[in-house]
Symmetry: C2
Amino acid sequence: MIKKRLFTPGPTPIPESVMLRMAEPIIHHRNPEFGEILTRVHENLQYLFQTKGPVVVLTSSGTGGVEATFTSLFSPGDTIIAANGGKFGERWVKMPKAFGLNVVELKVEWGKAPTADQIRELLKKHPETKAVYLVHSETSTGAATDVKTLSEVIRKESGALVCVDGITAVGAHEMRFDDWGIDVCVTGSQKGLMIPPGLAFVALSQRAIAAMETAKLPRFYFDLRKAVKAWEKNDTPWTPAVSLVIGVDAALQMLRQEGIEKIWERHRKLATALRMGVQAIGLKLFSETPSYAVTPVWVPEGVEWKAFNKIIKGKHGITIAGGQDDYTGKIFRVSHLGYYDALDMVTVMAAIEWSLAECGYKVELGKGVGTVMQQLM
Amino acid sequence: MIKKRLFTPGPTPIPESVMLRMAEPIIHHRNPEFGEILTRVHENLQYLFQTKGPVVVLTSSGTGGVEATFTSLFSPGDTIIAANGGKFGERWVKMPKAFGLNVVELKVEWGKAPTADQIRELLKKHPETKAVYLVHSETSTGAATDVKTLSEVIRKESGALVCVDGITAVGAHEMRFDDWGIDVCVTGSQKGLMIPPGLAFVALSQRAIAAMETAKLPRFYFDLRKAVKAWEKNDTPWTPAVSLVIGVDAALQMLRQEGIEKIWERHRKLATALRMGVQAIGLKLFSETPSYAVTPVWVPEGVEWKAFNKIIKGKHGITIAGGQDDYTGKIFRVSHLGYYDALDMVTVMAAIEWSLAECGYKVELGKGVGTVMQQLM
C-alpha cells in the first residue's frame, strides 16, 4: 500500500475538508444560498489579492483568465511588452500575437528574471506600449520576478498597464495588488487556492477597467466588462462551475483564517528548507531567483531522470514534475505551493533521498531530511 | 497552517477514497444495491479473517462485539479464563463477571504476554473451562500475544473455545482463523479496517455456533444466533450503520487488492523501522513482545509528557496516544495500524524528534529519521 502524494505546482493537493464540501449535493447557481457563497468568495478574493477593486471569477483555466485580459483590454495593433523566461512567459508572447497585438518580447534566460533596467530600456524604445506582462512565478523554471520593483519602474516610466501572471504566485508570494500599483493579476484554482482546476480569478484596477471601454478586440465569453458588471451584483455572467466555487469558498476561508502574511511566510520557509535539504545531499538548484512556489533541481550526474521518477512515483507514491523543453530529463521540480506544511517537506525530501540512492547516487540517508528538520525546527 | 495527522491505534486515518464513498447520498438498507454491498463485505471479511465460516457485522463498538460473544456463547456460572495484561484484558475480566460468569483471571505484567505454560497450568487447574479469552494485540501496552501457539495449546489440553480480541490485531498481525483453530475473533471498524468507529465484526467457528444453542445468558440485540441467520441471507438482523458498511466495503476492497500477507508484512516493517528510529535517538521501548499495531515508548527522563504532547499536537498537528493507568505520563504510544506507509513513519519520527528537542531532550535532528529511512529503503 502506497499513499499518493502530490508535489506538483498545480494541481496541488486539495484539503480533505474542501474535497468533502465539493462532494455535497449540487445547488443551483441562481439559488440565494449560492449568492451568499459567491459574495463571501468575492470578499475573500479581495483579501487574497490585497485589493479593494473587483476580482472576478471565470470558469476557465488560468490560461483562459489571461486570454480574457488580452481580449478585454486591448485593440488590434496595440503594443505590449511580454517578459519570456519560460514556458508560461512564452505563452503570453504567442497568445497576444494570435489576437493581432504587437508583442515586444523580453527574452530572459531560463532560471533568471527580467531586471528593472531591461524593462526601462524597452519602455523607452517603445513609448507606445499599452501594457507590460510579467510572470510572477515562472512554473517551468522556478524563477520569481520582483513584481514590486518592476511595477514601480513601469508606473514611473510610462502609462503602460502592469499585468501579472500570478498563477503560481498568488497565495505563495507577497503580492499587494493595490499598494504595488498592479493593474491586472490572474490566478487559477488548482494552485495556491488548493482546489481542482476549472476556475480563473482576475483582479482589475480602475485603469484596467477604463481600458476595457476603448478596447476593440472581439470578445464575448471572456468579456471582462460583463464579468465586472455581474461582480457588482455578486453574480457571474454565465453559469459558473458551482462545485468549484463551493470548494474555493471553503479554501478561501482556510486561507483567511491562517492570514495572508503567514501564508507567504510559510511558503518562504518551506521552500528555503527544502532547498537547503537538497543542497545538503549535493544537489544543485536550477534557478537564480527562486520562487517560493516550486523548486527546480538539476538531476545529478549519473542519475537517469526517467529511472528516478519511476522509483519516486511507483515505489513512494510521490508525483513531482520533470523539466520542460530543453530541460526535459535535466531538472526535476518539487512544489511547495498550497496545502503543504513542514512535515510534507520532510516527506518529499525522504522520498528524494530514497529514490536517488536507489539510482546509485551516493547519499547518506537522512542527511537532507536532517537539514530540512533543522531549518524548520 | 498545520495539517492534522493521526497516529493513534484507533481511530486510525481514513483513506480519502473511503471518506468520499461514505459522503455519497445514503441508500436504504433493504434496497438490492445494499444487499450487493453486504454480500461483498461478507465475502471480503472471510478473506480478512482467513475463514470459510461466518463473520457477522454488528452495529456497535468492538466492546459490543466482545459482549455479544459472552452473552451468546455461555450460561451463568460457566468458567472462562481471561488473560489480563492491560486495559483491554482487564475489560474482558470485568465484563463476563457482570454477566455472572466464573472468570479465572490470568494476570500478566503490562508489556508482557501470557505464555503457553501459564495457559496449560490454568487449564489443568480448571478442567471445566468453557473458553479462554486472549488479547491478540493489547493496545494499552503494545504487547502481542502468540495466538497461534496458545490456540494449539488450548486445543490440545482442553475442549475450551479459543476466543480472541483481535480489535487492534486484525489487518496488522498474521491471523488465520480456520488454520489456527480459533473459535471466536472480534475486531472493530476504526482499527485495521480504516473507517470510523461504529461497526464490530465477529468471526465464529462451528464449535462457537454449536455453543450458542445451549447458551442460557439473556440476549437480544447482541444475539449472535440472529446475526448468523441473517448472515446466511447476506442480511443483518437490525438496521445496520449503512454509511459505515459502505465505507468498510471500500476499505475491504483496498485491503483485498493489497493482499493480506502483504498487509501483515507492511505492518511488521513499519513497526520495526519506527522502533529502530526511536531507539537510535536513545528512547526505550515499553513492551517486550511488541505488537505491529502500536509502539509504546518510555517518555525519556527530563521530558514532561504533557509539554511534549502539547508541542507534537499543537505545533506539528500529530496526535499520538499517551499511557494509561499507572503509565499515564510515563509512556507514549505511536500507531502504525491501518492506512500508513513508509513515508508516514518518516513523518511521525521527524515530529517526535522536533518535539523532544523542543522539550530540551538532546537529539541530533534527523538521526531517528535516517534510521527509519535506512530500515525502509
